[in-house]
């Protein structure tokens, strides 16, 4: 239940109006949340969740139907697939993996925009990758500390 609320919150966060100067730096909340859960609680969120959220995001943002769904599917699939392999990495290396995945996400969106003939500046696409990675790192560090505290209590 709380996960559902969290997911709806990420949808809301991705369309909340921001001042024009900050808007290009808006992280891809949905992608970041899904990646976070892929690593923190694997197998809880399936590809179907990613697909449904992607369609909701397409409808909310007025994008081509299926655009965000496809991009989210790809990164969640890769994250689930290689989760076991990269799980043991120290966080500094995990951050690089996340950054690559988010960059791939942005690139797929950009590529589909290009194929569909919508002109979008490439430069402004990279800011969300950086902010998204930052948000993911903060979430992971916080989550890890909470888990460690919980374990200490037990």
């Amino acid at each position: 239940m709380s996960a559902l609320i969290g997911l709806i919150l990420t949808l809301a966060l991705s369309v909340v109006p921001l001042p024009e100067s900050v808007a290009p730096f808006r992280p891809d909340w949905v992608a970041v949340a899904l990646l976070y859960w892929c690593f923190a609680a694997p197998r809880r969120f399936s590809l179907v969740t990613a697909f449904v959220l992607g369609l909701a995001l397409d409808s909310l943002s007025g994008a081509l139907l299926g655009q965000h769904a496809a991009a989210l599917l790809v990164i969640v699939y890769l994250a689930e697939r290689f989760y076991l392999r990269v799980r043991m990495f120290p966080i500094s290396q995990l951050i690089v993996v996340i950054m690559l995945l988010l960059a791939l996400y942005e690139f797929i969106l950009f590529w589909i925009d290009g194929v569909a003939g919508r002109t979008v500046p490439l430069i402004e696409r990279w800011a969300p990758v950086l902010t998204g990675t930052l948000v993911w790192a903060l979430l992971t560090l916080l989550g890890e500390r909470r888990r460690r505290e919980a374990r200490a209590l037990v």
Binding site: I8, L11, A12, V15, V16, P17, L18, A23, P24, R26, R43, S46, L47, V48, F51, G54, L55, A56, D58, S59, L60, S61, G62, A63, L64, L65, G66, Q67, A69, A70, L73, V74, Y77, E80, R81, L84, I112, A116, R118, T119, V120, P121, E124
Partner: protein, 293 residues
């Protein structure tokens, strides 16, 4: 969870995941192809827009509350000032309206003489802009009116000062509008001073429009008012679109660089007017009714 049990789940899940990924990915690619090429998916889109409507309302809610609260705690002084200003404006508009009534009557009479069946009055509905950021690289917004209010694709939007944009997508409860400042948008306009016809193209900046199809010797000056010409049949004719702010003649080029500022406050509106125009309103239809001697 114990070791071996977990491994088998992961293995089973791994195989199933690959297949599931392929199926879902091909579905989304098919959706994209259908959505890009045809309008087959309007039903799906409508259903989805209803599904995400609560999110839009939830995002809009705090902004709405803020507006109500700031209305409630406005200082008396500001209210008095606003009242004075509004009274003055009202006087001015009612003065103009008096002339409009007689002009309307005269116009109707003249049209009767020409035997053309054009109607001046058109239906309008106030729609509220939902405080929801769509794609940051496009000049679009969501409205709280949809199919249930009779909104249709291609419908014109106005505010108190002029043309705002048009509806590009309609759901049962919400609609999506494209602003005249979107880089993909163009409005057929005429220069009010001399009737010169041209096209105003959006730039992506809500304070600027481009007029790329005017030759260097075109009769256009800074300060000229551009009104919608009604050609193309989407926008009603005669509404203010923008004012020319810059004319740059370019020797050696065939076209001048002309920039206009939209009349409507595209980035500050909270409410817009949806306008229903009858088919006879478009000048093409009116012209067809006029017999050429």
């Amino acid at each position: 969870m114990d070791g071996p049990g977990r491994t088998t789940t992961i293995l089973r899940g791994g195989v199933g995941n690959g297949l599931r990924f392929l199926v879902l990915a091909s579905i989304s690619v098919t959706l994209m192809l259908l959505d890009h090429h045809q309008q087959h998916l309007s039903r799906v889109r409508e259903a989805l827009s209803v599904a995400v409507y609560p999110v839009k309302v939830a995002v809009d809610f705090p902004f709405n509350v803020w507006n109500v609260v700031s209305d409630a705690i406005t200082e008396r002084r500001t209210l008095v000032e606003e009242n004075i200003r509004l009274k003055r404006e009202q006087l001015e508009t009612s003065f103009r309206l008096q002339r409009l009534a007689s002009l309307e009557a005269e116009n109707a009479r003249l049209r009767e003489l020409l035997d053309s069946s054009s109607k001046l009055e058109s239906r309008a509905l106030v729609a509220e802009i939902l405080a929801v950021d769509l794609d940051p690289y496009k000049q679009r917004f969501s409205l709280n009116r949809g199919l249930l209010d009779g909104v249709y694709v291609g419908q014109a939007l106005l505010d108190a000062n002029g043309l705002v944009g048009q509806i590009v997508r309609v759901g049962p409860l919400t609609a999506e509008a494209l602003l005249i400042s979107d880089p993909d948008h163009a409005v057929p306009v005429t220069v009010n001073r001399n009737g010169l016809r041209t096209i105003a193209v959006g730039t992506g900046d809500s304070r600027r429009l481009r007029l790329p199809y005017l030759t260097n010797n075109a009769d256009i000056e800074v300060g000229d008012l551009l009104v919608s010409s009604g050609l193309g049949g989407v926008f009603p004719a005669g509404y203010p679109v923008g004012r020319v702010v810059e004319v740059k003649q370019q020797p050696g080029q065939s076209f001048a660089e002309v920039t206009a500022e939209p009349m409507s406050k595209l980035d500050r509106d909270r409410e817009v007017l949806l306008v229903w125009t009858s088919a006879e309103d478009s000048p093409g239809a009116a012209a067809a009714n006029v017999e050429v001697p």
